[in-house]
C-alpha cells in the first residue's frame, strides 16, 4: 500500500476536551487517537454534537477557555506538540501551517473589511509581504478559487458576495499562506448543492496539487465523504467509533452506528419504501450513557454494552472499530 510510506503530518493522542457546564464536566471530546498522513484527505463524520467541530478547534487550540479546556492529550504536528507551544508560537502556526475553513461563510468574514484586506491579512502577518504584494497575491488567490474578475471583486465587501463566493473567499484566506494542513469544518453545510460540488471539487484540486499537505474535512454528510475522502473517522459522543479507508468503510461498515448512518442515505440502485433512521437522538452531553454510548439506540445491544466501554480494535487491516460485537470478550 502506498499509505505505508507516507509521513505522519498530524498525530492526535488521547485528546480530551471538556467543557464546564454549570459545574458539570461535559466531555465533548473524550480520548481521541488518530493520525493524518501527508497527502491525505481525511474525513470526520458524525451527527451533530458528536465532537467533530470541537476536535477541529482543539487542534488549533481555539477552544474558548473558560468554559472549555483541553484537559489531556497530545497533538503532534510534524513532531511538535501543539498543546505545549506558547500562545505566540501557536499564533505563528495558525493560518500559516494549519488553517481552518469555518462552517458559516456568512458570519466568518468581518463585515467591515473588504475581501481583499481579509485575504491580505495572513499574508502580511506570516509572509511579511507589503501591501502591494499581498494585494497581488490575494487577487491570485481569488482567481485560484474561481471568483470571476478578481481584480474588481477584491475591493468588494463581504455583503456584496453570494454565499458560495464567500465560502470561496474563506477558502482563499485559509489557503493564502499555503498551509500544510487545512481543516474544513463543514465547509459545504451552508451552501446549496451545486455550489457544494464546486467547493468540494476545488478542495480536491488543491489537495492534488500539494503532495505533502493534508485536508481534514468535517461533515455530517456521508455523500460528501464518499466523494472526496481517502480515510474516514466516524465519531459519536466524543469518541471514535470506526476508522477505515473510505471504500472499505462504505462497502463493509462494521459499527452498528455506521451501518445506521449508511442505511439512512437514499440509494439509486435499490428500491426502498422508506429510509431507515437510527432511532432516538444523540444523548445529552452531560449524561452520556454508561458503557457503549450508542447502546440505547443500537439494534445489536448486548448486556455487556450497558456496562463496559468497548475498546477500539483493529478488526481488519486499517479498519478500527469500537464495538463489543467484534470483541471476543463481548461475545462471551
Amino acid at each position: 500500500m502506498k499509505k505505508k510510506h507516507r509521513k505522519e503530518l498530524l498525530k492526535v493522542e488521547n485528546l480530551k476536551t471538556h467543557f464546564m457546564i454549570e459545574e458539570q464536566k461535559a466531555k465533548a471530546v473524550d480520548g481521541l487517537d488518530f493520525n493524518v498522513f501527508e497527502g491525505e484527505f481525511f474525513g470526520i463524520v458524525g451527527e451533530s454534537g458528536s465532537g467533530k467541530s470541537v476536535t477541529a478547534l482543539s487542534i488549533l487550540r481555539l477552544i474558548p477557555d473558560p468554559p472549555g479546556k483541553i484537559s489531556e492529550g497530545k497533538i503532534f504536528f510534524r513532531d511538535r506538540n501543539l498543546l505545549g507551544l506558547s500562545w505566540e508560537d501557536m499564533r505563528k502556526i495558525r493560518g500559516n501551517e494549519i488553517s481552518m475553513i469555518f462552517q458559516e461563510p456568512m458570519t466568518s468574514l468581518n463585515p467591515v473589511f473588504t475581501i481583499g484586506v481579509q485575504i491580505m491579512e495572513p499574508l502580511m502577518i506570516h509572509r511579511n509581504m507589503d501591501k502591494k504584494e499581498a494585494r497581488e497575491e490575494s487577487i491570485q488567490m481569488l482567481k485560484k478559487v474561481g471568483i470571476p474578475s478578481p481584480e474588481m471583486r477584491v475591493d468588494d465587501y463581504p455583503h456584496q458576495f453570494s454565499g458560495g463566493m464567500r465560502q470561496r473567499a474563506m477558502i482563499a484566506i485559509a489557503l493564502s499562506c499555503n498551509p500544510s494542513l487545512l481543516i474544513a469544518d463543514e465547509p459545504t453545510t451552508a451552501l446549496d448543492v451545486t455550489v457544494q460540488a464546486q467547493i468540494l471539487e476545488l478542495m480536491t484540486e488543491i489537495k492534488n496539487k500539494r503532495k505533502d499537505s493534508a485536508i481534514i474535512l468535517i461533515t455530517h454528510d456521508l455523500a460528501v465523504i464518499a466523494e472526496t475522502c481517502d480515510r474516514v473517522m466516524v465519531m459519536y459522543c466524543g469518541k471514535i467509533q470506526e476508522i477505515a479507508g473510505t471504500i472499505n468503510l462504505f462497502e463493509n461498515p462494521l459499527h452498528p452506528y455506521t451501518k445506521g448512518l449508511m442505511d439512512s442515505i437514499p440509494t439509486l440502485t435499490k428500491k426502498k419504501k422508506r429510509l431507515n433512521t437510527i432511532p432516538g437522538n444523540v444523548p445529552g452531553i452531560l449524561n452520556f450513557p454508561p458503557g457503549c454510548p450508542f447502546h440505547p439506540r443500537c439494534k445489536h445491544k448486548m448486556p455487556v454494552c450497558e456496562k463496559v466501554v468497548p475498546t477500539l480494535l483493529e478488526v481488519e487491516e486499517k479498519h478500527l472499530v469500537r464495538c463489543h460485537l467484534y470483541n471476543k470478550e463481548g461475545k462471551n
Binding site: 488549533l60 495558525r94 493560518g95 488553517s99 469555518f102
Partner: protein, 363 residues
C-alpha cells in the same frame, strides 16, 4: 451643520471681534497688529523718544538766542512730539488710536475688527460715568458685565472654549472608555470581573464633589480640568463597549481571525472595534452636550476655568448676583440653549441616519 460652521468660524473670532486692529497704516508704514503688535509698539516708542529728542535739541539750540516760542519749526516739532507721545500712551487701545488718527488727518488709518471689543478688555474708561454692568446699547450688543467687559465678545470666545473643551473631553474619555471596555469585553473572565468591580467602585465616587475638591486644591486650568473630568466620564462608554465586545467576540469572524493568526491587539482594534462603534456614534453628541453643561456648572460654581477666561458659567453666576441686569443671565442661557439644541439635532440626525427602520418614527 450650523454648529460645525459656527465652531469653525469661532477659530477666526479674532478677525471679527477684537479690541486690536487688524491693520494699522501709520507714517506710510503698515503694521499687522492682529496677533502681534510688537513691531508697531517698537516703532511708536522709538519714534516718540526720537521726536522728543529732536524737539528738545532744537529748543536748546534756539534758547541760545532769544527763545522765540512762535518759531514755526519749533511749533511743528512740538506738535509731532506731542502726537507721538499721545499715541504711545494709547498704542494698545486701537479705538482711541482711530480717533486720534481721524483728528490728525495725516493720512494714517486703521482697520478695526467689525466688532471692536475684546473678551478680556476693560471698558471702564469708555463707559464714562455709567457703572458696569451696563445694558445693551449700540456699541455693546449685549451690554457689559460687572467688570465692564463686553458680554457679546465673551460669549463668542466662550463658545470656542466650551466647544473645544467638550470635544476634547469627549475624545479623551472615549479613548479611555473604549480601551478599557474593549479589554474587559475581549479578555473576559477574571479581567472582566476585576475590571467591572473597579468600574463600580470608581463610579460610586461622587464625581462633582471630587472635581470641586480637586479644583479647590489646585488651580484648575484647561488641561487639568479635561484630565480630571475624563477620569470620570469614561465609565459609561466602557460599559457599552464592553457589552458590544462581549457580543461581537462570539461571532465567527473573530474566531476566523484568530485561526488566521492575527494578534490580540489587532483583533481588538481593527476587527472588533469597527463593528462595535454603534454606541460611540450614537452617544457622541450627547457626551459633547454634557461636557458643555458640566463645564458651565463648574464655572458657575466657581470651580471651573480660572479668571479671566471668557466663560458662560461665570457670566451666569454674575447674572445671579446682579439679578436686575437681565442680559447677564439671558445671553449665556440663550447661547447655551442654542448650542446644546444644535448638537442634540446632530445626535438625532445621526440616530435617524443609522436607523434601519426608516418609518419607525412616523407610526
Amino acid at each position: 451643520m450650523i454648529i460645525g460652521a459656527a465652531y469653525f468660524l469661532s477659530f477666526f473670532a479674532e478677525l471679527g471681534i477684537n479690541d486690536k486692529a487688524l491693520l494699522v497704516n501709520f507714517d506710510g508704514k503698515k503694521f499687522v497688529t492682529l496677533y502681534n503688535d510688537v513691531s508697531f509698539k517698537k516703532y511708536i516708542f522709538a519714534k516718540a523718544i526720537k521726536t522728543k529728542e529732536i524737539y528738545f535739541e532744537y529748543k536748546t539750540l534756539l534758547s541760545g538766542d532769544t527763545l522765540n516760542l512762535h518759531d514755526e519749526k519749533l511749533i511743528s516739532l512740538k506738535a509731532e512730539y506731542k502726537l507721538y507721545d499721545r499715541i504711545k500712551k494709547d498704542f494698545d487701545n486701537h479705538r482711541v488710536l482711530r480717533n486720534i488718527f481721524e483728528e490728525q488727518k495725516r493720512g494714517d488709518w486703521i482697520i478695526l475688527a467689525p466688532y471692536p471689543y475684546g473678551p478680556n478688555e476693560n471698558l471702564l474708561d469708555e463707559l464714562g460715568d455709567r457703572n458696569p454692568p451696563t445694558g445693551p446699547d449700540r456699541k455693546n450688543f449685549l451690554g457689559t458685565d460687572d467688570r465692564g467687559r463686553d458680554v457679546f465678545a465673551r460669549l463668542i470666545y466662550g463658545f470656542r472654549i466650551y466647544m473645544t473643551f467638550a470635544l476634547l473631553l469627549t475624545l479623551a474619555s472615549y479613548a479611555i472608555g473604549i480601551l478599557f471596555g474593549a479589554a474587559l469585553g475581549y479578555y473576559g473572565g477574571k479581567v472582566d470581573f476585576l475590571g467591572l468591580r473597579f468600574i463600580e467602585i470608581w463610579a460610586s465616587i461622587p464625581f462633582l464633589f471630587t472635581v470641586m475638591v480637586i479644583s479647590s486644591i489646585m488651580i484648575p486650568n484647561f488641561t487639568l480640568l479635561i484630565v480630571i473630568l475624563s477620569l470620570f466620564y469614561w465609565i459609561s462608554m466602557a460599559r457599552y463597549i464592553r457589552a458590544e465586545f462581549l457580543r461581537e467576540k462570539s461571532n465567527d469572524y473573530v474566531q476566523a481571525a484568530i485561526a488566521v493568526g492575527v494578534s490580540d491587539r489587532r483583533i481588538i482594534l481593527s476587527h472588533i472595534l469597527p463593528n462595535s462603534l454603534t454606541p460611540v456614534i450614537s452617544f457622541l453628541p450627547f457626551t459633547v452636550i454634557s461636557g458643555i453643561a458640566i463645564l458651565a456648572s463648574l464655572d458657575f460654581l466657581g470651580f471651573g476655568l480660572p479668571e479671566p477666561t471668557p466663560s458662560w458659567g461665570q457670566l451666569l453666576s454674575q447674572g445671579v448676583s446682579n439679578l436686575s441686569s437681565w442680559w447677564l443671565t439671558f445671553s449665556p442661557m440663550a447661547a447655551m440653549f442654542i448650542t446644546l439644541m444644535l448638537i442634540a439635532f446632530i445626535g438625532e440626525a445621526v440616530r435617524e441616519a443609522l436607523d434601519p427602520k426608516v418609518y419607525s418614527r412616523m407610526r
